[in-house]
Amino acid sequence: MGKHVLVIEDEPNIVAAITFILRRDGWQVSSHASGSDAMQVIRDAAPDLLILDVMLPGRSGYDILRELRGDPATADLPVLMLTAKGQSRDRQMAEAFGASRFMSKPFSNTEVLASVRELVDT
């Protein structure tokens, strides 16, 4: 496959775990830890899939998502949102802003893998 996944997440250990899981499945994975310059990184990398944390330093994940959806170039990019808060309000907000899939931490590895495959295939 070799498709490109970009992970935007500030906890280094979580990034390490996702990277390991996806690489083992044959994905090409890059990561970024800050929210403030995330848009630029996304535009430059042009990934096939974006995994986006909600609570990021500098800028909230929701904010980034909204901007992505407003830009024709990235409006159709599949986005998997991650949140550690796990309240239903967060899920509603993610959906309202146009997230492709929403997942709360802690997640199971198989669940992540399944979601990623599903989002890129469709």
Binding site: D10, E11, N13, I14, A16, A17, I18, F20, I21, R24, G35, M55, L56, P57, G58, A84, K85, G86, Q87, S104, K105, P106, F107, S108, N109
Partner: protein, 912 residues
């Protein structure tokens, strides 16, 4: 004869004694053991600087020349004091409510805080008082000369001891600078000086009485003999001249209020209004006793001394002629006291005026109000320089005029000069319509007329004014002759000048005030001065507070010093029902702040500095309406109503604050659960992901496997710490914590905290600025918990101080068993909107801060400090993040288990 060296020795000994007393009193004053210092007796004695060397030596000379006329100089003040209910009471009350620093400041404050008026009065005072100071220097050198004199056939030959004057001037400068410029706020200044002056007052009174008693009962045969000798010595010159009698009494009455040094002790240094009631009879009594023996000494001197002796020195010469060396020495010290105390206070008063009205405004104008640095040292240095300058002027004046006859008349000439402030001052107290145009015009006219008709001619013909001009008038116009204006030839130049200068001055003052309109600020100040007894809280000079409390605090710190400014702001905030150091900038608050500052730099400067920050909006239409409507005002300020509405306003404010806090807390409660969830889920995510990886993938390389296991372990520890912190906090909040009391010193504690916090962000090198000597304070409290707080604060600074060269200042103070430790870094500090929240749970300020602990550190610190009977607070306006930890040095309590090192480890983990 007394050997001259012995005299010098006695004199030096006396000076050392005065230094010592002043020093000891200053020391005690610092420890606030000065109840006896502010007694009515000390107040009355300090007023006696009215009696200078001119009184001490000159009165007898005066009596020899003109008979009884000398008493007018003391009758005037007696009448003013006996009539204290009319004017002095009002003057002192206004001085206190407006925190006036000098007579120039008072007049400037009344006329719209106009600095121009302050400058005019200051210049007038410098012109009038410098020669007066020269007169004192002359009297000291002259009295020295008497002892160094050699008797010869035609009496005593006095050597020229002009050099003594320079040593005396230098010594006075040192004393005045040492004890007169220690602190800035005029209201709590000069205890050392006041006590030295009180001692000198006693010495000069005792000396004169001793000589008098000796003369009456030792030389003459008692009062009846003296009476007979007075009759025998009667000369035609002794006849009472009605004009001079009334004029001089009036002049002296004016001088007691307007002379800068008298204003200084009468109004500025007054500690309690009730002292005035005592002084109303005690000060006249002092004057009475000082005058009582003047006539006897004069007639006995005339009888026993050879013809042609200087009558100004009879007080010394009579005992010397009769071989009473000890008495002569006492008399010498009395005269020395009279001269030195006058010079010291006059120099302080003039220096305060010059620095507040000339130096500081000039500096502010040149450098702009934003110029940084401690204003206090600027003002104090300005005062020190002014004191030096005043004494230098005095000395130079003395040398230039050669200390001749011209000088002897200087006392009364200075009186007339300062009397020019009378119309403006009386207008300030009693006439609401008086305004600054009138006051300025009156002062300038009075100053010019005084200079032209009295001051300049006093040097004698052809010194400053040519003889021709004196004879024929300015430009040859006859009616402009200096000593006969408008052809009115009053025989006495002094009365001539007094009459014309005050008449024209008053005329200009009234015309100016009637024809022009006052500014709103003048009208507000006018009401505050004239109706000072009706207005309890004062009319406001500020209408809207547009300024930032934090900017005001920064400025106040530069003038008052950090401790005092913070204390003032905190008290103001508390009165408004707010916690912390930043009160709302209400008009009342601004007004009180301005008066506080005025006590240090004068009202005009204080007003200008606040206006710079707050902006121009000072007096509103409503304020003016309130001022204009006197009836409304009296009703409005009925104190009960005032107190009630203030109480209501305070309660309302407290309720509003509490409500806001509750709303914030409720939002925080929601956020708290969400935060707990987040803090727990984040480490759990890593743990779950990596444990699944380890479980499923059997083919992992061993180093990867152990790295992943390490991550799982780290995250598990993180979870544990979070739970520990939460438990710690809940125990502390519930007050169920058991404290472990140990003995230690603050220095050890700070050392420990610095070492422990060094492990946070170890790559950053901090410059630590601390005062190890101040930290030598014995503690008996829960040292481990305290260390936890210190470490937390220090670790936060290491993490978040964003300065390129980070530094940390640690200031320690102890007062009344409470230790205060300030930690101040040089980063950009904490934004104002966040300052109130940082001590709440999970209150991290930015997302960047998420990197560290869970945001419980400062919340735990706050709880610890409550448990230790102290508090931790954020101090705004320190140029960086500043945390103040204060706690009692000794805390009684019980022993528990648990080691300090546990607490330390926890603190490092919690920081953030």
């Amino acid at each position: 004869m007394v050997p001259f060296n012995l005299l010098l020795l006695a004199c030096l000994g006396y000076v050392v004694f005065l230094f010592l007393i002043a020093f000891l009193v200053e020391r005690r004053a610092e420890r606030r053991r000065i109840a006896w210092l502010s007694s009515p007796l000390i107040y009355t004695l300090s007023l006696s600087i009215y009696c200078t060397a001119w009184t001490f030596y000159g009165a007898v000379g005066y009596a020899v020349r003109s008979g009884l006329e000398f008493v007018t100089i003391y009758l005037g003040p007696t009448l003013v004091f006996v009539g204290w209910w009319w004017m002095l009471r009002k003057l002192v009350r206004i001085g206190k409510t407006q925190r006036v620093t000098s007579i120039a400041d008072m007049i400037s404050a009344r006329y719209g805080k106009s600095n121009a008026i302050g400058v005019i009065v200051t210049l007038l005072a410098v012109c009038a008082i410098t020669p007066y100071i020269a007169l004192q220097l002359q009297s000291i050198s002259l009295s020295f000369a008497v002892f160094a004199a050699t008797p010869s056939a035609e009496g005593l030959v006095l050597p020229d001891l002009g050099d003594t004057a320079i040593w005396v001037a230098a010594g006075l400068a040192i004393f005045t600078i040492l004890f007169g410029t220690r602190r800035l706020d005029a209201k709590e200044q000069h205890h050392g000086v006041v006590i030295a002056i009180a001692v000198e007052a006693v010495v000069k009174l005792l000396a004169l009485i001793a000589v008098g008693v000796f003369v009456v009962w030792g030389v003459a045969g008692g009062p009846a003999d003296i009476y007979a000798r007075i009759i025998a010595n009667e000369s035609p010159d002794w006849e009472v001249l009605p004009g001079r009698w009334a004029g001089l009494t009036f002049l002296a009455a004016v001088a007691i209020v307007t002379l800068p040094r008298m204003f200084q002790v009468l109004v500025v240094e007054n500690a309690d209004e009730r002292h005035l009631a005592t002084a109303s009879w005690a000060f006249p009594l002092y004057l009475f006793l000082i005058s009582l023996f003047v006539m006897p000494i004069a007639v006995v001197g005339l009888d026993i001394l050879p013809e042609g002796m200087n009558p100004d020195l009879f007080v010394l010469l009579v005992p010397l002629a009769l071989g009473q060396d000890e008495l002569a020495m006492l008399a010498f010290l009395g005269g020395f006291s009279a001269a030195t105390s006058m010079v010291i206070v006059a120099a302080i008063a003039l220096a305060t005026m010059a620095s507040n009205h000339i130096v500081v405004p000039l500096w502010l104008q040149l450098r702009g109000p934003e110029a940084s640095g401690d204003m206090r040292s600027l003002v104090l240095n300005a005062r020190r320089l002014s004191i030096l300058a005043v004494l230098c002027f005095g000395y130079v004046y003395y040398r230039v005029t050669g200390g001749g006859e011209a000088l002897a008349a200087m006392g009364l000439i200075a009186f007339v000069g300062m009397a020019q402030t009378l119309p403006a001052l009386m207008g300030a107290l009693f006439w609401r319509g008086a305004n600054r145009i009138g006051a300025g015009a009156g002062l300038v006219v009075g100053l010019v007329v005084w200079l032209y008709t009295l001051f300049l001619p006093s040097f004698g013909p052809d010194v400053l004014l040519s003889a021709q001009l004196m004879q024929e008038g300015l430009f040859g116009i006859g009616w402009l002759r200096p000593q006969a204006l408008y052809g009115v030839e009053i025989a006495d130049p002094l009365l001539h000048s007094l009459f014309w200068s005050l008449a024209l001055n008053t005329f200009a003052f009234c015309i100016g005030s009637v024809l022009t309109f006052p500014t709103p600020l003048e009208r507000v100040q006018g009401a505050q001065f004239v109706n000072v007894f009706d207005i309890q809280t004062g009319t406001r000079g500020w209408s809207r507070g547009a300024g930032e409390a934090e900017d005001l605090l920064v400025m106040a710190q530069r003038i008052l010093g950090a401790t005092e400014a913070q204390g003032f702001f905190q008290a103001e905030a508390m009165a408004q029902g707010k916690a912390g150091y930043l009160p709302d900038t209400t008009p009342d608050f601004l007004d009180r702040l301005e008066r506080r500052l005025a006590g240090s730099v004068g009202s005009a400067t204080a007003h200008a500095m606040i206006a710079q920050i707050v902006g121009g909006s000072m007096v509103s239409v409503e304020d003016l309406m309130a001022v204009a409507n006197e009836t409304a005002q009296i009703m409005e300020y009925s104190s009960q109503l005032e107190a009630k509405s203030e109480e209501l306003a305070r309660t309302a404010r407290q309720l509003r604050e509490a409500n806001e806090m509750l709303q914030k807390l409720s939002v925080q409660k929601d956020a708290f659960l969400s935060q707990i969830s987040h803090e727990l889920r984040t480490p759990m995510t890593s743990i779950r992901a990596f444990s699944e990886i380890l479980k499923e993938a059997g083919d992992l390389p061993p180093e990867d496997a152990s790295r992943y296991a390490g991550i799982i372990q780290d995250e598990a520890i993180r979870l544990t710490r979070l739970l520990d912190d939460l438990l710690d906090l809940s125990v502390l909040e519930a007050g169920r914590v058991q404290l472990k009391i140990e003995d230690s010193t603050l220095r050890t504690l700070i050392d420990r905290a610095l070492v422990a916090s060094g492990s946070v962000a170890p790559h950053r090198s901090f410059t630590i600025d601390r005062d190890a000597a101040a930290e030598d304070i014995a503690l008996r409290t829960d040292i481990g918990r305290l260390a936890q707080v210190f470490i937390n604060v220090l670790s936060n600074a290491r993490k978040y101080c964003d300065a390129e060269r980070p530094r940390m200042d640690i200031h320690v103070r102890e007062a009344g068993g409470m230790v205060t430790v300030d930690f101040v870094d040089n980063g950009s500090g904490i934004p104002k909107k966040s300052q109130a929240l940082i001590f709440e749970k999970f209150a991290r300020l930015t997302d960047q801060m998420q990197a560290g602990g869970a945001g419980l550190g400062l919340a735990i610190c706050r709880e610890i400090m409550h448990n230790l009977g102290g508090e931790i607070s954020y101090v705004p306006g320190q140029g960086g993040a500043a945390f103040r930890v204060s706690f009692p040095a000794v805390l009684p309590g019980e022993i528990t288990e648990g080691t300090a090192s546990d607490d330390e480890a926890r603190a490092v983990a919690q920081a953030g």
